[in-house]
């Protein structure tokens, strides 16, 4: 089959690789009909995530048709149309039974690696480094799905691929980010990053009762997409973002702040150049100017919710502001499985049509080009969907 492979920092290729096969009783093989490039894949492209190896198959947002199931999978049949959540979760461990699916104790075969960096290992993920399990991803014609009786979620034929594909990651990720804000009716929520997760966070915040959402991004088409959802917007390269947020909220600050940017933030202030120099010199692992600003801008007693990916050790975190303003910080890889039934209902009810975010529809062979287009925000690129077959 053809698969999108990581060949090194800044090197993505499409290769012919062996078809996947069932390796464990609870595996399934899915023939992929749609697969997307996630903003977090760009961190792999740029070499910010450790323990990648040349030849790793990328991709963790994919859906398709069940081709084959292991003898341990009783709830799926050949021919079922499913979306596949990006965290691999066993469904049996204490964490899974408490709906903390992205904290699954059992799905990471390389747990010892993650333990060295994080103390305890989170769930294995598709196509997201060996530390996170080393599982082959879904930017390919087929994928092997472990614990297929827990992850894959059947979707109705009445909905198109593009309407349900983002249930794999970015819709629940944006939703969990908003849910983590414990939004009270009428709250003001500020969202840093108008990429796909930011866009879903904006819409989810409104679904959960926010009165105002303020989106902060420097890319005009992303601000327009946010405005289409009813958000007010600010340019993240504007040096006065804090002052403007202050003015817009009557001197109080947003009730909650969502950092949907993550570890490769850009910014107009000196601290961005400081982070850039330190990460380039390998003295820091993450660039965090969006997170700093979110913490600084948040009102006293508010919540900073972090769906953006951070990988390592963050430098110059204004933790004093967290303590002195009594902030709550919430984060985590998304417990996707927990949110699927309610988000599917929102789609079926017409509360949201996730296909709004798609800007590029291409074939798998275009992946190398599209990674670059997406990263560099060229051609109005916000979300890329690839059709492998």
């Amino acid at each position: 089959m053809r698969a999108v492979c990581w060949e090194g920092t800044n090197r993505i290729g499409v290769q012919r690789v062996p078809d996947p096969s069932i390796l464990n009783p609870r595996d399934a093989i899915v023939r992929i009909t749609s697969t997307a490039i996630c903003g977090s894949d760009l961190h792999l492209l740029d070499g910010f995530i450790p323990t990648m190896r040349r030849g790793d198959i990328l991709g963790h947002e994919f859906m398709g048709i069940v081709e084959e199931v292991g003898h341990g999978v009783k709830n799926l049949n050949r021919g079922d149309r499913v979306i596949v959540p990006f965290p691999i979760s066993c469904g049996n461990c204490w964490f899974c039974t408490h709906e903390l699916y992205s904290c699954c104790d059992n799905s990471n075969p390389n747990a010892w690696m993650a333990e060295k960096l994080y103390g305890y290992s989170p769930a294995g993920l598709f196509g997201y480094s060996h530390m996170m399990g080393g599982y082959a991803g879904g930017q390919a014609e087929y994928a092997r799905v472990p614990f297929a009786d827990v992850g894959p979620f059947k979707v109705p034929q009445t909905l198109t691929d593009e309407q349900v594909l983002f249930l794999t990651d970015i819709f629940p990720t944006g939703y969990m980010a908003a849910e983590n804000c414990s939004i009270q009716r009428g709250d003001t929520v500020a969202v840093w990053g108008g990429g796909p997760v930011g866009q879903f966070a904006i819409r989810s915040a409104f679904l959960l009762g926010a009165g105002r959402v303020i989106a902060i991004d420097t890319v005009p088409e992303r601000r327009r997409m946010a405005e289409a959802a009813g958000a007010e917007t600010l340019d993240s390269m504007d040096p006065d973002v804090f002052e403007k947020l202050r003015d817009m909220t009557g001197g109080i600050g947003p009730d909650s702040c969502i950092d949907a940017v993550g570890l490769e933030a850009h910014g107009p202030h000196l601290d961005y150049y400081y982070d850039k120099a330190k990460t380039m010199a390998m003295l820091a692992t993450d660039r965090i100017s969006a997170l700093r600003q979110a913490i600084f801008a948040c009102r006293k007693g508010g919540t900073v919710s972090v769906p953006g990916v951070y990988g390592g050790f963050l430098d110059k975190v204004p933790f004093g502001a967290v303590v002195q303003k009594a902030l709550t910080i919430k984060s985590g890889q998304t417990h996707v499985q927990k949110y699927l039934p309610r988000l599917l209902r929102h789609i079926q009810n017409g509360d949201i049509d996730p296909s709004f975010v798609v800007t590029h529809r291409v074939s798998l062979d275009d992946a190398p080009l599209m990674y670059k287009t997406f990263r560099d925000k060229q051609d109005g690129c916000i979300k890329v969907v690839m059709k492998p077959n």
């Binding site: 993505i12 690789v17 464990n24 461990c93 104790d105 059992n106 092997r144 275009d366 190398p368």
Partner: protein, 254 residues
């Protein structure tokens, strides 16, 4: 026995943190050397005559006890919590023939008769270690203790305790062994740079995964671009957009 499996397997292990491991081994030896204290016997209550065991005469083990009670001997302690009822975890462990399913370096365990079993571990370069062990203490759903029979290649003793917690059944393993002399001893010396706790931790992790999920998650045998060198024709076509137009060479993984 478990120790034997670990012992034989260390040479294969790559999960090194050599300094820490050497320090750990040294610390255990120093502690033992200084106190003559035996954790396994303490866990079993053997030294204090609290054994509710099989009633086998104590002098049958004097050799093992002597070898583990002295200056030599290594102690490993690890624990894990398994989200399964205590009785199920206990039952699984109590049938020693299950152990090779999760103990990587244990080739087989054969239960012979009342409490006596034969153990085979394999290690680097076809090394094979065999010994007989017997259960010296067991309390249903609480503890199993064992030690090697007198005259074994390896003197070893171990215990596993089971407790109920709010997160499941906590399994605590203590192992002690005395490395043999001669060729095996030399191998053990070479292996000292490795990390025994990590070995047993991985074994326990496999036990947990097997009991909780019914399988041991793996990526071995999955697809990757590491062993292919032919780029798909259409990929080559779009190679002008690619960051790398070089296909991977066979064997050039990593």
């Amino acid at each position: 026995m478990l120790a034997g499996a670990m012992l034989a397997g260390w040479g294969l292990r790559r999960r090194d943190t050599a300094g820490g491991a050497a320090a750990l081994g040294a610390a255990a030896l120093l502690y033992r050397g200084g106190t003559g204290h035996c954790h396994v016997y303490e866990a079993l209550g053997v030294d204090h005559g609290r054994s509710r065991g099989t009633g086998i005469a104590a002098d049958r083990f004097s050799d093992t006890r002597q070898r583990l009670g002295g200056r030599r001997g290594i102690l490993v302690e690890e624990s894990i919590t398994i989200n399964k009822p205590i009785a199920e975890v206990y039952r699984f462990w109590r049938d020693f023939e299950h152990l090779p399913q999760f103990m990587e370096h244990l080739a087989s365990v054969t239960v012979r008769d009342a409490g006596v079993s034969h153990w085979v571990a394999t290690g680097p370069a076809g090394t094979r270690v065999e010994w007989d062990a017997t259960i010296i203490n067991e309390v249903d759903n609480q503890v199993i203790g064992w030690q090697s029979l007198q005259g074994s290649t390896i003197a070893t003793a171990g215990s596993v305790n089971f407790d109920e917690t709010e997160h499941g059944t906590r399994v605590r393993v203590r192992l002690q062994y005395d490395p043999p002399g001669g060729r095996l001893g030399a191998m053990v010396a070479r292996l000292f740079g490795e990390e025994p706790n990590q070995t047993i931790r991985e074994d326990l992790r496999r036990l947990k995964r097997l009991l909780e999920t019914g399988e041991i998650p793996t990526t071995e045998g999955q697809s990757s671009g590491r062993r292919t060198m032919v780029m798909h024709p259409s990929a080559r076509k779009s190679g002008q957009h690619s960051y790398s137009q070089r296909p991977l060479r066979a064997g050039a993984a990593r």
